[in-house]
Symmetry: C2
């Protein structure tokens, strides 16, 4: 089979092309959630697409303080660090804390492949998302949490059941959704309670 191709020259685009080929690896980072109706785990690249389209689809409910275009870009960039740092389940609190330094180093290396001004732009988007303080970052974080909750609600709690996650963990780790979008959280809680009553969410 083929050997790895040495970096190809593309003039002013040489670094950009090298970056785009490097981030192809995000398609091989596995998450716990499975694609609906299949036994295949979704990867972080396709999750990032789904999340970004979710931002577009929820735009009318975001309020005036949210810049939808910036949140779309945040969704596209937010998990690129997983190429070096891996995906850690949102319910794995110790793992989440431990991975932070690895993610910072990953951001330096990966966004550092780009020339300026793209390097600074991508890195700033990631830092804003990680800090979680601006209305844009809060809307992004809300949706990043929401997507796997919705997928689980439509798939009889697949990743919760497989990872032994219980109702109280789902409620406590996702209560942030209610801080950003209270009406949505009321609906989610109702479906989560129903899932618990049905017995497929312990």
């Amino acid at each position: 089979m083929s050997e790895a191709t040495p970096e190809l020259a593309f003039g002013e685009l040489t670094e950009v092309v090298a970056f785009l080929m490097e981030i192809d690896k995000l398609k091989s980072i596995q998450r716990r959630t499975k694609v609906l109706g299949t036994q295949r785990q979704e990867n972080t690249a396709e999750h990032s697409w789904h999340f970004a389209v979710g931002v577009m689809a929820l735009a009318p409910y975001a309020g005036d303080k949210v810049d939808i275009n910036r949140v779309v870009q945040m969704a596209l960039v937010h998990d690129i660090v997983e190429i070096d740092a891996g995906d850690v389940l949102v319910y794995d609190l110790a793992g989440r804390a431990a991975v932070h330094a690895r993610e910072e180093a990953a951001a330096e290396r990966l966004f550092g492949l780009l020339p300026e001004p793209q390097r600074g732009h991508f890195h700033q988007l990631w830092l804003e998302y990680e800090a979680g303080e601006t209305p844009n970052a809060q809307f992004a974080l809300m949706l990043d949490r929401l997507m796997p909750v919705l997928m689980n609600l439509h798939n009889r709690g697949q990743s919760w059941v497989e990872n032994g996650i219980r109702l109280e963990q789902v409620l406590s780790r996702n209560a942030f959704i209610g801080d950003v979008y209270p009406a949505l959280w009321e609906h989610l809680k109702r479906h989560l309670d129903a899932a618990h009553q049905d017995g497929w969410l312990k």
Copy 2:
């Protein structure tokens, strides 16, 4: 295993959630290009992510007439119709012509799952991309062509070799890149010629 979950109520978000769960199917639409360094074909959801990040990474070279945020959104939406219409290889000219009516029906059905104003917004993005006339659509089409060419150049022509595609087809079907970004096309032609000399692109 689980049965399909009936549509869940989410108040003003009920239709949006149903749309987001339906488009999960884009993760199961296979393209011909393989993820670099693997034997797995990429799917259209992860391609759409890669394409959208490519738009962001090439933003400084796009010129004043291109609205990068709109092109990013176009990239995210452009292939959702493949859920109903399937992916057709860019070199399959008869297939491309035949699929157009199926894609129009797919756009009606899929974007029609959304409420307004999202429905109209998504549909307009897709129509603008398909028409290929605005600077935004031309930049998007250029990048959609560019991504698999770059991946093939970094993977010894994997999808070209597997589908019997020859140098003259790659040149003629992708010359549009040169209309939008002449300097980039010069670099690509040089690498394509070198691939032909090396013997892995016939």
